[in-house]
Amino acid sequence: MKLDYNHIQAAHCENGVTTGLLRNYGVEQITEPLAFGIGSGLFFIYIPFMKVNNGPAISFRTMPGMIFKRTCTSLQIPVVRKKFSSPLKAREELDIRLESGHPAACQVGVYYLTYFPPRYRFHFNAHNLIVVGREGDNYLISDPIMETIVSMSSYELERVRFAKGPLAPRGQLYYPKTVSTVTDEQIKKAIITGIKRNVRDMLHIPGNIAGIRGIKYTARKIKGWKEKLGPEKARSYLAQLVRMQEEIGTGGGGFRFIYGAFLQEAYGYFPVDELMTISRQFTRAGDMWRDAAIQASGIYKGRLGSQQDYDIMGDQLIEIAELEKKAFTDLSAVVRKLK
């Protein structure tokens, strides 16, 4: 059985799953940038005491699962979320949902994801996809990263739903409880909540490893990497930073471009000129992140490598932090005017 499902490609998997599910459950207005903005997706954090794939734990977005959760909460859409200890039960629940004529999303691990190119298959367990049908033993999958619908056997799907390690999905299945429409009024309210929460996360989060202060912290760290880690390891660290920024479905510039797009869409609901001006600031920030990535690549390609080259990159991040600080401060003033 194949559901009447409209596949939507997105830059990022969780945005894409949120957008795809909500659209197919009746929320016609939702787009990837709106889901990202309402879910307060923009973030920065560098967790110094944690390692990911033997490199630094850096993220340019909020915690996995939050974008879907916040977007649904803001739009007052009840969500069903289930984890399973039994793979059989996990499969049965999914089948029941599909038979009722509705798609459902699964959290999966990437390592055994058959249709992914091998070079992307690390042990990362917070990938999301939508199951949109079943034909015999094959499940039809709408993966927002892919251009079209793909398929996986029941065994292959079970394997990724029960991937092990950090953030193990434990068969997690989730979907909106009912088909529902939302009014533009609800979207407007959700936009305001999303912006306010994002301002708070970037400007006022306690500690110095997250938000704007986290970017500055990382800048200082980078300046010390050559000395502290040695050139080999520093090279790996920089490459990992660039991958987190550009590779993991960020839409470019560590999600800053998607956020710029969100503010433009917000302008469609609130014709306040500042939103467009601030959107441009985020575009600029995204461009600067990409410039920093080019600088980093000079080092990991071996073309650059002096202490001065690390310092240049650190200074680029400090400049970005200042710019984003201004953008969010402006945004926090503007959001008060939105009604």
Binding site: F116, R119, Y120, E147, R243, G251, G260, A261, G286, A293
Partner: protein, 137 residues
């Protein structure tokens, strides 16, 4: 980023899919377009894989010098760590750590070895030093 600046370098997604990028058009409005890849991040991914290869080679050396059990080699080969191996096999983390010692690994029961063999998708025989040595993996 402007729409005409979206890089179209050969990427790791290759022919499987193009990825979506956000960029502004000539009027400053955001739009999306597909990108085949960006050389800067391709190289970053190369570096990550070079690191993996290095770790595998180091692990193999340690195993052949009998400083570690073959478990270390297969763990690195499958990009795993103790936490992940423990998750898939059901062994406690401390058990997996112990099994990394050749003296402990050599005395493991067939049943326990089979758990590792299944996880690493090799036969029980392939889990041993001799095999690692012969094939020059």
């Amino acid at each position: 980023m402007k729409i005409n600046e979206i890089p179209q370098d050969p990427g790791a997604l290759g022919k499987i899919a193009k990825e979506m990028a956000y960029a502004v058009d000539e009027n400053g409005r955001y739009t999306t377009a597909l990108s085949t890849g960006w050389e800067i991040k391709m190289k970053a991914l190369d570096v990550a894989w070079e690191d993996v290869e290095k770790r595998i080679a180091e692990a193999r050396g340690k195993v052949l010098r009998e400083e570690a059990s073959p478990l270390l080699y297969y763990m690195e080969l499958k990009l795993m760590d103790v936490v992940i191996v423990s998750g898939y096999t059901g062994f406690w983390k401390w058990q997996v750590k112990r099994h990394l010692k050749p003296s402990v690994f050599n005395k493991l029961s067939g049943k326990k070895l089979d758990k590792y063999a299944r996880l690493f998708e090799v036969s029980r025989e392939q889990l041993t030093y001799a095999y690692l040595n012969e094939t020059g993996l």
